[in-house]
Every structure is written in structure tokens, then in C-alpha cells.
């Protein structure tokens, strides 16, 4: 299903969500030790509240809304990769289906870290699990940042590079370097 472009209000909501989750996650991650436990709890609940609001909105909005939750598809990624490696210039500028996977993994990973943190606030036995999931969330976020910059870089590649890549991949008999 195609998704329309976000309105100004939807874009603001999406930006506010991103800013709240990322900003609060930074604070929660940096204040995980005992001295700043109060700050850690405050920031952790801010992450949890933002994710719950986002999931709630994602479930309630009608189909086609940009606020819908991510729907990752392996087929879409395979198709996009095929187009990309075939030298299709539009594949580089179109939105990559990899972002749906990244968004879903991030929502699940950071959401789980925040949810186990809230449980650990009352049930100390969950503390260790929360710590492990929290530590595992950092590589997810770093991967997200790397993906954003990689996709951004892909758009900025000179157009001639894609056709040279296609030529390089073709059999030597048919090879034609532009």
C-alpha cells in the first residue's frame, strides 16, 4: 500500500517522537550508574512514554497514513537491492525499504529496553535483563545512524558511477565502459 506524504502536523509529530526517544535514550544511557539513578529512571520513562504514544498512534491511524507502524518486507528489500545493483538510478534516490527494517528493529529494541527498565523499577530480578538489552540497544542505534548516512551518501553518488558499476558487472564480451 502506498503511503502519502506527511502533513506538517504529522511531520512535527514524527520529528518530536524521534527527538524525544533519541534525546531521552542518550540521557538514560549516560546515567545508568547508581549515582544518577533518578535521572536514569526519569529519562527511561520518557523513552517508554514516547514509544507507547508512537505505537498507539501507529495502531489507531488509518491505512495509508505516514504515522502507521513500520511494515518490513524482505521482498521489498530484495527488489530494491536488485534495482540498486542493476544500476537503476531511481533506486538510489527512492526511499529504501531497509529503513522499515531499521525502524521496526529500533522500536522493538529500544522499546524492550525501556519496558524492562520500567519492570525492573519494581522487580529487581529483571535488572540484569534490562541492563543487557540496554547495552544491546546502543549498537542498534549506531547501525541506524550508519544506515541513514550510507543511504544519504548513496543519493549523492555521481550518476556515472552506477553505469560504470553495471558495465563492470556485465560479461567482458558485452562490457562497455561509458
Amino acid at each position: 500500500m502506498s503511503v502519502r506524504k506527511p502533513s506538517a502536523a504529522e511531520m512535527t509529530a514524527l520529528l518530536a517522537f524521534h527527538a524525544t526517544v533519541s534525546g531521552a535514550f542518550i540521557v538514560a544511557y549516560l546515567t545508568g550508574d547508581e549515582d544518577s539513578y533518578g535521572m536514569h529512571v526519569f529519562a527511561g520513562y520518557a523513552v517508554l512514554a514516547a514509544i507507547l504514544l508512537r505505537v498507539g498512534a501507529g495502531l489507531l491511524v488509518p491505512a495509508g497514513s505516514p504515522l502507521r507502524l513500520p511494515r518490513p518486507s524482505a521482498g521489498a528489500v530484495a527488489g530494491w537491492l536488485r534495482r540498486l545493483f542493476a544500476g537503476d538510478a531511481k533506486a538510489r534516490t527512492d526511499r529504501s525499504p531497509l529503513t522499515a527494517w531499521m525502524a521496526a528493529v529500533l522500536l522493538a529494541g529500544v522499546g524492550l529496553a525501556a519496558a524492562t527498565g520500567a519492570v525492573a523499577d519494581f522487580l529487581v530480578t529483571v535488572e540484569h535483563l534490562h541492563k543487557e538489552i540496554g547495552e544491546a540497544s546502543l549498537p542498534l542505534i549506531l547501525a541506524h545512524i550508519a544506515l541513514v548516512f550510507a543511504l544519504h551518501g548513496l543519493k549523492r553518488l555521481p550518476p556515472g558511477l552506477a553505469s560504470r558499476w553495471t558495465a563492470w558487472r556485465s560479461p567482458p564480451a558485452n562490457r562497455m565502459i561509458p
Binding site: V3, P6, F17, H18, I26, A43, P70, T99, A100, H152
Partner: protein
């Protein structure tokens, strides 16, 4: 978001200006939430200090 990732996206437009805006928003929000969280902790510590004042360590 659909399979192409359109929505969650939060990052629907990936122009350099949008990327800069998102990074700036993240850092600003981190500062605001950090300040609020510090105030929250100070308030909690203050309340704890009133309930159980810190000992001076010299037996007083």
C-alpha cells in the same frame, strides 16, 4: 509505515537540512530531558535528605 519504510520513518525526507535538523533536535531534547531528569533527581535526593539527613561521620 509501508514496506518501503515510509512512515516511521520519522525521517521521511533525508535532505542534508533535515538530517541536521534531526541531529540538532536530538541534542536539544537530550539537554532538556537531562535538565529535567537532574531536577527530578535533585528533588528526590532533597526529599531523602530531609527524611534521613546525611551523617557527619564523626559520631554526632
Amino acid at each position: 509505515m509501508d514496506s518501503a519504510g515510509t512512515a516511521t520513518a520519522t525521517t521521511t525526507e533525508r535532505s542534508p537540512a533535515m538530517l541536521k535538523k534531526m541531529i540538532l533536535h536530538t541534542l536539544l531534547t537530550a539537554l532538556v530531558i537531562g535538565a529535567l531528569a537532574a531536577a527530578w533527581q535533585a528533588r528526590a535526593d532533597g526529599a531523602a535528605g530531609i527524611v534521613a539527613p546525611p551523617t557527619t561521620g564523626n559520631g554526632d
